[in-house]
């Protein structure tokens, strides 16, 4: 998709606008689609993603909700079971904890508990990630943690194409899909094909091919990881960069193929290190390519601390280009 896009006529846009275009497009394609969440309407979305949409689609379909995360998430589940295609915006992942019972105990279980009679074709959008000095309660990166839950799918659009294209595909999915948008990406600019549209959501993408080591990441860390790859190139280390795109299910085939080739891997993940998605990928690689590895698999994750407010500590707590470069070099020189 990405490459096609670049070939067709491209327009300058932002990640934020790409997400808004995706919502607008979905609303136009299917009248069963509606967006509901705190301040998505009159306010225009806490990150201005839905700005202008209420004027176009009205307050019923761009529905402002009270501060009742569990209530309106559950309402989204019910509406989906009754045939609608709701997009629930949980403003940020930090507040999604209040809705976790509905997500895990209802959305993720209904199809199973009902013996496949009912499904929950619901999409939940959440802003995620640190980097804006919002401190310990507003800086969580829990997308990898959510990927633990069977019954839901978890997406992490890192590019303009995915910000624009994943939503519709997710809405067509018969099961609940959580889409995590990293807060540091909203202002990201770039060229997007004027005809950009839905993209598949099953495969990881090789964003930079390389021979010496696989750098596996997603979402907000993709940019940093590509930067690190550029730095490594100047030191004659040819890194391959994989963008997971889907955190649940994981595209094992692409990951394994890459590491079988490079024989080394570093996983970059903004979640806290212990119990991170990076740990799962490391464990899977061991299960599948242990005998092909020339070095231990490394992880670059967030430090085990609630994210501090002050900028220098927040930066120190989260993965940075230097950490990725260092980890990659350690893996390459180690043998």
């Amino acid at each position: 998709m990405a490459t096609e896009a670049i070939q067709s006529q491209a327009v300058e846009t932002t990640y934020r606008d790409a997400v808004r275009e995706a919502i607008r497009d979905a609303m136009r394609r299917d009248e069963r689609v509606f967006l509901m969440g705190e301040d998505v309407g009159r306010y225009g979305g806490c990150y201005a993603v839905s700005k202008g949409l209420q004027a176009e689609f009205g307050p019923e379909r761009i529905r402002d909700t009270p501060l009742s995360e569990s209530g309106f998430t559950g309402a989204g589940i019910g509406a989906a079971m009754a045939g609608m295609r709701p997009i629930v915006e949980l403003m940020t992942v930090n507040f999604s904890l209040l809705a976790l019972d509905q997500i895990l105990n209802t959305a993720a279980t209904v199809r199973h508990m009902s013996g496949n009679q009912f499904g929950v074709p619901l999409v939940i959008r959440l802003a995620t990630g640190a980097g804006r000095q919002l401190a310990a309660q507003h800086s969580h990166s829990l997308e990898g943690w959510y990927a633990h839950i069977p019954g839901i799918k978890v997406l992490a659009p890192a590019t303009l194409e995915d910000a624009r294209g994943m939503l519709w595909t997710a809405l067509e999915d018969p099961d609940p899909v959580l889409i995590f948008e990293n807060v540091m990406l909203y202002n990201a600019t770039g060229k997007l094909a004027s005809n950009a549209g839905p993209v598949e959501i099953d495969k990881a993408a090789v964003r930079r091919p390389g021979r010496d080591i696989s750098l596996i990441t997603y979402g907000g860390s993709l940019g940093k990881t590509l930067e690190a790859a550029t730095v490594l190139a100047t030191q004659n280390i040819d890194a391959e960069v994989i963008d997971l795109r889907s955190l649940r299910p994981l595209d094992d085939a692409t990951i394994i193929a890459s590491v079988k080739k490079t024989r080394r891997a570093i996983i970059v993940d903004e979640g806290w290190r212990t119990g991170s998605l990076a740990a799962e990928i490391s464990a899977r690689l061991i299960e599948h390519v242990f005998w092909d590895l020339d070095a231990p698999i490394g992880r670059v994750c967030s430090a085990e601390v609630p994210i501090p407010y002050s900028r220098h500590l927040e930066n120190a707590a989260t993965p940075q280009v230097v950490n990725i470069v260092a980890a990659a070099k350690a893996a390459v020189v180690r043998t």
């Binding site: 509606f34 019923e60 379909r61 909700t65 009270p66 009742s68 569990s70 209530g71 309106f72 998430t73 559950g74 309402a75 989204g76 589940i77 019910g78 509406a79 989906a80 079971m81 009754a82 045939g83 609608m84 709701p86 019972d101 509905q102 105990n105 209802t106 209904v110 199809r111 199973h112 508990m113 009902s114 013996g115 496949n116 009679q117 009912f118 499904g119 069977p150 019954g151 799918k153 018969p174 099961d175």
Partner: protein
């Protein structure tokens, strides 16, 4: 009071109400027996004493209306028309069960009758009901969602959020609170600072009524008024049914929290005996009616047991099915 408020208490209808209650009671007595035989496992929550609520409310709904229930939902499923066979097979864990054996007693689901299940998270069904009603509201469908829950759920934040959303967005939800005075071993007064549950509806501007949940005729009349109001206004309605659980909370409950005398006192208000007695004194139920009803119910139960016994176990190879929809080939 307009016509919709008056119960049409024809003899046939009266006997039908009675039969439905007896049907639930006898079925659950059988379930308890099967539980001791370990044919049914997990948690088993009986509705003994509360039958008048489901029997009074559910027949008032239309086929196209929706129902959300709790883990104490056998009665609701049966009255709604979920086959006793499928319900019992489910409790056996057989794939012929209404939830393919995946759910068990607490998770009876049935798409054919718009029965949105048994939910085992207290209060968890309320937001779901709000969402079902939201979907109907947005499509201007004349559908009502009836949501059953116990008075224990009133303390949950989800109760508060759901009532506000339903009223704020004016959604057609009939909230039916089955106030049986206990949440497991927790008496209402230990759970709520304001024990008059009905009053709570007012702070959401939701119309409400409290009714004697042991009187099936009264419940039906109240349910008619409630459903009429919801259909007329498109707004939610709160119906508190004051009832009592005569048996233990589940099969693991030693009932240390209440004394036998209290239970005995309530036994006298027990909905079946009470209604049957009333029908008999009013010559609406004759001995042969009772014989017929008991016989029909016994036969249905025997048939359901045979069906469940004959049911099959889902192959273990299919373990992870239903976690996600199967890809259309």
């Amino acid at each position: 009071m307009n016509s919709t408020d008056k119960p049409r208490l024809s003899r046939t209808h009266a006997l039908d109400l009675l039969k439905q209650m007896i049907r639930i009671r006898r079925f659950e007595d059988k379930c308890a027996e099967l539980y001791t035989q370990e044919k049914i496992r997990g948690f088993l929550h009986l509705y003994d004493g509360e039958e008048a609520v489901a029997v009074g409310v559910i027949p008032v709904l239309e086929k196209y209306d929706r129902i959300v229930a709790t883990y104490r939902e056998h009665g609701h499923a049966l009255v709604r028309g979920v086959s006793m066979r499928a319900a019992l097979a489910e409790m056996y864990g057989k794939q012929e069960g209404c939830s393919h054996g995946r759910g068990g007693s607490m998770h009876l689901f049935d798409k054919a009758t718009n029965f949105y299940g048994g939910n085992a998270i207290v209060g968890g069904g309320l937001p779901l009901a709000v969402g079902l009603a939201l979907a109907d509201h947005m499509r201007q469908k004349p559908v009502v969602t009836a949501c059953f829950f116990g008075e224990g759920a009133v303390a949950e934040g989800e109760f508060h959020e759901s009532l506000n959303l339903a009223a704020l967005w004016s959604l057609p939800v009939l909230f039916v609170c089955e106030n049986n005075l206990y949440a497991m071993g927790t008496a209402l007064a230990i759970s709520e600072s304001e024990t008059n549950i009905q009053l709570k509806a007012a702070s959401y501007r939701i119309a409400s009524e409290a009714v004697d949940g042991m009187d099936v005729v009264a419940v039906e009349a109240a349910a008619r008024r409630a459903m009429h109001a919801v259909r007329e206004t498109g707004k939610p309605y709160f119906l508190e049914c004051r009832t009592y659980r005569l048996r233990a909370h589940s099969m693991f409950d030693a009932q240390l929290y209440r004394d036998k005398a209290e239970v005995e006192a309530w036994r006298h208000k027990e909905p079946i005996v009470r209604f049957q007695g009333w029908l008999e004194t009013n010559h609406m139920a004759h001995p042969d009616d009772m014989v017929r009803i008991e016989a029909e119910v016994a036969a249905e139960i025997a048939d359901a047991v045979a069906f469940a016994e004959a049911g099959t176990w889902e192959p273990i190879e299919q373990l992870t099915r239903f976690t996600y929809a199967e890809k259309a080939a």
